[in-house]
Amino acid sequence: MSDNRAFSHVSCPFCGLACDDLALKVDDEKIRATQNACPRGANAFASLDPLPSIKPQVNGVDTSLEKAVQAAAQILHQSVQPLFAGLSTDVAGMRALMQLGDACGATFDHMNSESKLRNLLVLQDSGFVNTTFAEVKNHADLIIFFGTDAVSRFPRFFERLVWNKDSLSGLKTSAREIIYLGEVKNTQAGIAPEGRKPTLIKCTNENLGEVAAAMHALLNGKTLQAEQVGGIKITALNKLLEKISAAKYTVFCWSAADLNFLHAELAIQSLAELIKTINEKTRCAGLPLGGTDADVTANSVHTWQSGFPIRTSFASGKPMFDPTHFSTQRLLDNAEADAMLWVNSFDEKRISPASKIPTIVLGRVGMKPTKDMQVFIPIATPGADHAGHFYRSDKIVALPLRKLRETLLPSVEQVVHAIETSWRGQHAD
């Protein structure tokens, strides 16, 4: 088709904000954003331009989809401990992977697990008082960014959720107070429409846990011997607590990916416990940001189908969850996996980690096969080439993804079902 087609209210699956207000046009199967896309989203759609010929490969040689599927099934058939990793896919793709992985005893790990675990470990140990996008947009009069600027990873965060015009609660949105705590790159977005600048309270992100714990102690009426924590004066922390208690609805926003240091879960836990205590008197909630590369999507499906979050092995026939043991890198380093299926639907730069074990890659347009990949199968992109579902950062909203153009490429769901059929045939022998 070469006719020019226009689409509106399209969901964008290229970061965890999952904006669903994009307008796009499709001409000659090329997708171009016409409205509301951020540069990253626009570039991502443009990067999907069809390539003249991308064929499945087995051992570096072009082949048919059928042959590639058979080769993939054979690798799994010969494997005792297969690893299903990457896992950036839509709901249907993840459902198919779970069905196959359960049958063949795979271990599941997502490409973003390292950062996702920082929140998960807190959930399983003590929990959260959290909120979602529309609540921030309509209620938050004080937003404290905890070691993140939000926009470096989620470009339209302020445009959509902070400097919106109207609110349901009577809140004057332009009067919201913005505070950055920790290390941040870009504070431009925090400048209010009338030019009011945000407050910066600097410390290293490694010190954020101590800072939250000190605030918690002060809130509980404890006297601290120290005059400063992480380079921040106690008086400044007291002032911040006064602001929180005067606010109607404080939101602490963090991105676990930005808290990239050893045992960052403890910093997040300190914050989560502070938020709980603040809620004894006034309202306050956390907003963890994530969801990019479908990490929330994959984890949601994995959790409802198995009862456990990702980093679970089905090798024993039962789901065994172990968040440290089943990391992709650890399994590869210790030769505890003998085949890898890597699935990557959204970011062509996320290639499978180098390894000596047979590797099957289901990769999006623009991903180049490498010599490490025994089988490479190019796949369609959910939300461009086929319909599907993608979870937003706040875990509540699963956005419908649309088919925008025709493609000959199969979806992850189709490929995985085909691999399963072939595998069952070989396995029955």
Binding site: H9, G127, H139, L168, S169, Q305, S306, P309, A387, D394
Partner: protein, 553 residues
Amino acid sequence: MLIKLAGGRLIDPANNVDGVVKDIYIIDGKIVASPGGEKIDKEYDLRGKVVMAGAIDMHTHIGGGKVNIARAMLPEDHRADLVERTKLTRSGCGHAAPSTLTTGYRYAEMGYTACFEPAMLPTNARQAHMEMGDTPMVDKGGYVMLGSDDFYLRMLAAKQDQKAINDYVGWTINGAQALGVKVVNPGGISAFKFNQRKLDIDEEHVHYRVTPRAILKSLTRAVYELGIPHPLHVHASNLGVPGNVETTLETIKAADGLPMHITHIQFHSYGTEGDKKFSSGAARIAEAINQNKNISADVGQIMFGQTVTASGDSMIQFKNAKYGSPKKYVVMDIECDAGCGVVPFRYRDQNFVNALQWAIGLEIFLLVNDPWRIFLTTDHPNGAPFTSYPRLIKLLMDKTFRKEQLAQINPDAAALSTLGSIEREYSLYDIATMTRAAPAKILGLTDRGHLGVGGAADITVYREDADREKMFSAPEYVFKDGELVARNGKIVKVVWGNTHKVKPQFDRGIEKQLKPYFDKYQTLQFENFAISDDEMCECGHGSKTLLHACRKH
């Protein structure tokens, strides 16, 4: 294919059949009249067996965001109940917050053929349907939550007329592909976002200046006037609060004589008498149900042991988090739409409050006269996991067992309860009513919950056993839409069940208000809110959606 179930003893309250020995014939998943001399393809000898329609759980939290939070939160609970894959079934885990697959298998193994998720948030309805879609064996459906969503509260505050409210409710049900409407702590979930910590039935929401009573009246009427078979499903104000029996009695009054279903009423039947200021209000509640024929209720029985409470009631769950065990919880404000709270809980028989809660639930079961208006639930998993149903049935059917159990609980609680003096025992006919005929009737599922000609062949066959717990744990045969799916408590065939829903008519003019509301305040586009029929197919393994008629009054 013609199947004959020969010689079983039928207990089918919907057709006034109590213990009649009769053959059942099945063609293409439906119960048919005797086909005369036609060749029988498959015959089951059911002589001496008890035959009932498949059981229906009308209130069980099996899908949606809060259930998945509970799953992710509780690896320690799952590890004690891991489920191994078989050639036929998938692996997973059970107990308090089971995986979707295990949920379906275990319900079917117990003779249940339909389960309804009662708390489907409009903005989270897609997930609820996807999880239910991954729940095999049983039919599913959801009640969409309204009453703390800002759009509705604004309408009420602006005193919009009942017709506009009805249109909004109709629009939401259609968009969320729901079977009914639920209200949770009316207005309270929203009030919590404005830092209100309690909201009595006549107390005003601090921002919208509307009361729970006004919300109950308008939603009860909307559901009635839209002709939705299932009455408004009400999780009343003040859950768990001593003295809430008064709130519940006022909630019944707010129905104005229209049909209303009060859910997990055990948690809403507490008085303030005695030294500990906590007492049973069961007698007053049962009396009110007996007197008000427009009212039905499910019990939400608690059973002792570890579970997890997962509720839309963020206001109450935040307050109750300090009683939780193990000590962890999640409370969320959600999308100007609703909220949720997930708190693990361990009910202890030696704890005065827990023991009395247990007794109060049983008192309500036994003091409500009409089994057509009281339903067997534990509010899974809030009172206990659904796998405790066979034991609960034994407590209702066997007074000796009940009295033995009563003798083991906290003695102060036992002394305060009238349970020991209640001699009533439920019959098999009563159990079949409250777990089959009555839920089908109250949900408007005309082809379920009975064994008459034209009914769907969802059929459970039990071996008689004086130990009712044993009898109801592992039925000999379970048929789903005419196929044998479980045998002696083990799955023999995996099916995916149907999704039940209603599509009430409404005036699309309401979208003139909704579109600008979404544009200004929401973070999901108006155009992406409604779940399409195609999506329902993708969500549910290609299972059928069954549409039920709405009858305008």
